[in-house]
């Protein structure tokens, strides 16, 4: 590891054996291949596609949180000059139950159809009811205002506790609670009750010297990607549909759209544009099936649709509000004896909150002999919960990691020492079952303890330091890619994992490393669904791991194919060719990759390889974060003074983008901790659907975010890679809460820990 090339803010920690191989490209920081077009404004994102004759689509959305649709009258809109098509749920086929795995959970296609355009009932404020295509955005907007929907307004329920109560308004009459493989009787808003159990809970708590039990409440928050959802769709009279869109998964868009429209999947081609952020929010379709309907109904003209910011907040996947109870017992010498958690997560309008993932995060950092975790997936009159970076993890860790801080305080133990004593290592069971292979939690804890931040003076009153750790499981999935060798020796790489944060750089580096060529001689492209094999979504922190593995495999195949060409050229058997340090050789013959590429014409012709693989072995990611805060006791405002994030990346391919993931996750976690929340009025309408009042952090709200990359190579990957994107959002809320406690003596149990909430707690404590 070449630590001397890293900027001053970063420390890279090599962990004990086995020694990492020497890499030539991996671990360096080349400029990303798609960089120049992004800094000059040439890169094309979802809203940047303009086709001749394009129509503009707009959506009619429900002003109510819960209502029955009695009638929709489109006649006035249809009569408006310039209006070319109008669509409602009546234009959608009925869709049967079908579960699709998205990499961050799953979606039922029947519900996806109901979410695309409301059929009988609107289930949340902002639910799409109808859509219009017109010759200009302005006319489309006017037409939207002319569509009259007759609603019978129904009582709405936003809070999960209210939704579980007897007599609560029920969203879906046919929903029954799934529990232990069976369905319970009677209409309900509880879609699922899941449970993990181990050991003897009562005995475990009886062994404890200290037991801490607390209830936590967290608000609904949004991914907040800067690019609103946007698509252009062209349906042809022959049944072909072409979709340009900003998505985390072109193949996911294809399958979901095919299901919702009941159209053969092969007739749909999805061309992914650049994507302006997603964080899990762009795994499912919203506009694409609607635009396809409008394109068909308008005489097969292209239809462009882009959401406003208000629509993004009101109608696309936020992540779950939650109520979480945690009880944890430990001995005086710092050993966890038992832990119990109950997680209630808001699913929004359709089943599928990330409560299962939250149940995985809540205790997976620790060895716990006796435990029970109960999770409830509960419907509310909110937009369907989407995935958001380590879905369900931040709220779960907020609960468990603050309870652990309190246990440490009660037994008088350093919080890192406590975590080291209980932290999982290779061979331990996860709370949710499987056994860990090599993992890096302890390395992150040790690096955090060694970091100067941990022992630096706080430097003033009303300041406190917080510690928290976090886990994310990471995902494998399927990746495909192909590569061709150009006569100048450069390799064109076609992949199908949308690049949301620099993955083209990592893919180019992996291929360059494997082939012994310069990284600038790899030209990666994200291509459409007809031009590469199947790829799962960019999600679950899987891309550098899974697609990276596919690209590594491509490299091996390219070497084999090029060896054959060299053998042809030198008239020897392919087995006689050796490849080392980028050079093919046999006896006195030797050609670099580049030289051989220039002679393929005489060596048997062009070289192209492809691969498709379902990987296994995604290693879990662990992090430990340190934060210093200052609290203004007169206003309740929290200032983040210093932040250090330590994380195991397995092998950091491009350290700058690993750091970037860590810093970005921390920033989102801080926003979640301090200010971000959906605010509803009495009728269940969202009242802060703007960046003005949904307050994501600005540059002035954050300090530099120091990073320490730990490398405990993942044994489940040929290069030791483990996903890094999601883990860093898990610890921040807990770390900040713990810091606030140490600054004020107040345990905050509600997110966000916004000024009015903290002020109220401070004033209550003073009086």
């Amino acid at each position: 590891m070449t630590t001397d090339t890293l900027p001053a803010d970063t420390e890279t920690v090599e962990t004990a054996a086995p020694a990492r191989p020497h890499y030539r490209v991996i671990g360096t920081r080349p400029v990303r291949p798609d960089g120049v077009e992004k800094v000059v404004g040439r890169a094309l994102y979802g809203a940047d596609i303009y086709l001749p004759g394009t129509l503009y689509g707009k959506v009619v959305r429900s002003p109510h949180a819960h209502a029955r649709i009695r009638a929709i009258d489109v006649s006035r809109a249809a009569a408006l000059p310039g209006v070319k098509a109008i669509a409602t749920a009546a234009d959608l086929p009925l869709v049967e139950d079908k579960i699709l795995v998205t990499g961050e959970g799953s979606v039922n296609q029947r519900y996806q159809s109901m979410n695309t355009l409301a059929r009988d009932k609107v289930l949340y404020h902002g639910h799409a009811v109808a859509a219009v295509a017109a010759v200009s955005p302005h006319i489309a907007e006017e037409a939207v205002a002319l569509i009259e929907v007759d609603y019978e307004v129904l009582p709405a329920v936003i809070d999960v506790r209210d939704a579980m109560a007897a007599g609560a308004p029920v969203l879906h009459d046919d929903l029954r609670t799934a529990e232990e493989g069976r369905k319970l009787d009677g209409p309900t808003n509880v879609a699922e009750h899941l449970r993990y159990q181990r050991g003897d809970l009562a005995r475990g708590f009886a062994e404890a010297d200290v037991i801490v039990e607390r209830e936590f409440v967290t608000a609904t928050v949004h991914q907040g990607y800067i690019e609103p959802h946007a698509t252009t769709v062209l349906a042809n009279a022959d049944g072909q549909i072409t979709i340009w869109c900003s998505t985390q998964g072109a193949f996911a868009v294809r399958e979901q759209t095919a299901d919702i429209l009941q159209t053969p999947i092969s007739r749909i081609r999805v061309i992914p544009t650049e994507i302006g952020g997603g964080f899990g929010g762009k795994l499912t379709v919203y506009l694409e099936p609607i635009a396809a309907l409008l394109s068909r109904k308008s005489g097969y003209r292209p239809v462009k649709m882009a959401m406003s910011r208000a629509e993004v907040f009101a109608a696309t996947g936020p992540t779950s509000a939650s109520v979480i109870r945690v009880k944890l017992g430990a001995t005086r010498d710092g050993r966890i004896t038992a832990a119990q958690a109950e997680l209630i997560y808001a699913a929004g309008a359709f089943p599928g909150s990330p409560v299962g993932a939250g149940a995985g995060v809540i205790f997976n950092c620790y060895r716990i002999p006796n435990l029970q975790i109960d999770g409830y997936d509960v419907l509310t009159n909110q937009p369907r919960a989407g995935a958001y970076r380590a879905p369900g993890g931040t709220n779960a860790a907020f609960a468990s990691e603050t309870v652990i801080d309190e246990v440490c305080e009660r037994i008088g133990m350093d919080p890192i020492e406590f975590r080291l004593r209980n932290g999982v290592r290779e061979g331990d069971y996860r709370a949710t079952g499987p056994v860990y292979a090599r993992i890096g939690l302890r390395e992150t804890l040790e690096a955090a303890r060694r970091h100067p931040h941990y022992t630096a003076p706080l430097g003033g009153p009303n300041r406190g330091r917080g510690v928290a750790s976090g886990y994310w499981g990471n995902w494998d999935g399927t990746s495909s890619a192909s590569a061709t060798v150009n006569p100048d020796g450069a390799v064109s790489l076609s992949e199908g994992s949308p690049d949301i944060g620099g993955s083209r750089a990592s893919m180019a580096m992996i291929l360059a490393e494997t082939l012994g060529i310069d990284v600038t001689d790899v030209h990666p492209r994200i291509v459409d669904t007809d031009s590469v094999g199947y790829n799962d979504v960019t999600g679950g922190s899987r891309t550098t791991h899974g697609t990276g593995w596919a690209v590594y495999d491509l490299g091996k195949k390219l070497i084999a194919a090029m060896s054959q060409r060299a053998a042809h050229l030198w008239e020897v058997e392919p087995e006689a060719i050796t490849f080392a340090d980028g050079v093919f050789s046999c006896g006195d013959h030797a050609l670099s990759f580049k030289e051989l590429a220039g002679r393929l014409g005489e060596a048997g012709g062009p070289v192209m390889v492809s691969t498709t693989m379902e990987t296994t072995g995604a290693g879990p990611g662990f992090a430990t974060h340190l934060v210093d805060v200052e609290v203004d006791p007169e206003t309740g405002k929290v200032t983040i003074l210093r932040y250090t994030a330590v994380q195991d990346a397995g092998t950091a391919i491009h350290p700058s983008y690993v750091e970037g993931q860590m810093q970005g996750g921390v920033a989102q976690g801080i926003g979640w901790a301090l200010n971000e929340e959906y605010v509803y009025d009495q009728a269940g309408r969202l009242v802060n659907a703007s960046y003005l009042d949904y307050r994501i952090p600005t540059a002035l709200d954050l300090p530099m975010i120091d990073t320490v990359i730990v490398e405990a190579p993942n044994p489940g990957h040929p290069l030791g890679v483990r996903g890094v994107g999601e883990t860093p959002i898990v610890p921040p809320a807990a770390a900040v809460a713990n810091a606030i406690y140490h600054a004020t003596g107040i345990r905050m149990t509600t997110l966000p820990m916004s000024p009015p909430r903290l002020l109220e707690a401070i004033l209550a404590k003073e009086s």
């Binding site: 120049v36 800067i226 952020g277 944060g501 600005t698």
Partner: protein, 160 residues
């Protein structure tokens, strides 16, 4: 019915003439009429900075400018930041410092940073953060963006 407005302006140094609806924003005209899609829409109400342009050298949100207002004025968009010789030092610094992840906010940040360094060639970190507070980024946590702008200031100083 409203009547369309003819507008003459200098855009990225070129004389440009266009027709627009009186209620169209500069952002809409740049993108939908003039094909300058480097200017992005993130919120269309002045809260994210993705649509930043320079209007007579002053940083503004193009979503909050009516297109007819630019008649007789000069507009600089992200497409006009680089010289004919390649990249502006700020653009180069964004690449070298990995100051972008998804890149949707990047044009707005670069235009804003250009306005800052035109006015304050040697900003402190706090000045950079204050100046860029009207530009939202959800990917980076701003760390590498702030470093890139500070580095660009150094590079531009060396070049002077």
């Amino acid at each position: 019915m409203t009547s369309r407005v003819r507008v003459e302006a200098q855009i990225n140094g070129d004389p440009v003439e266009f027709l627009c609806e009186p209620y169209q924003s500069l952002l809409e005209v740049l993108r939908d009429v003039l094909g300058l899609t480097g200017t992005k829409e993130g919120c269309s109400n002045g809260n994210c900075g993705a649509c930043n342009v320079l209007l007579d050298g002053v940083l503004v949100n193009s979503c909050l400018v009516l297109a007819p207002e630019v008649h007789g004025h000069e507009v600089t968009t992200i497409e006009g930041i680089a010289g004919s010789d390649g990249l502006h030092p700020i653009q180069r610094a964004f690449l070298d410092h990995a100051a972008l992840q998804c890149g949707i906010c990047t044009p707005g940040f670069i235009v804003a940073a250009r306005a800052l360094l035109d006015r304050t060639p040697h900003p402190t970190e706090q000045q950079v953060r204050h100046w860029l507070a009207g530009n939202l980024c959800r990917c980076t946590g701003y760390d590498k963006i702030v470093r890139a702008v500070l580095a660009a200031a150094d590079t531009m100083e060396t070049a002077r």
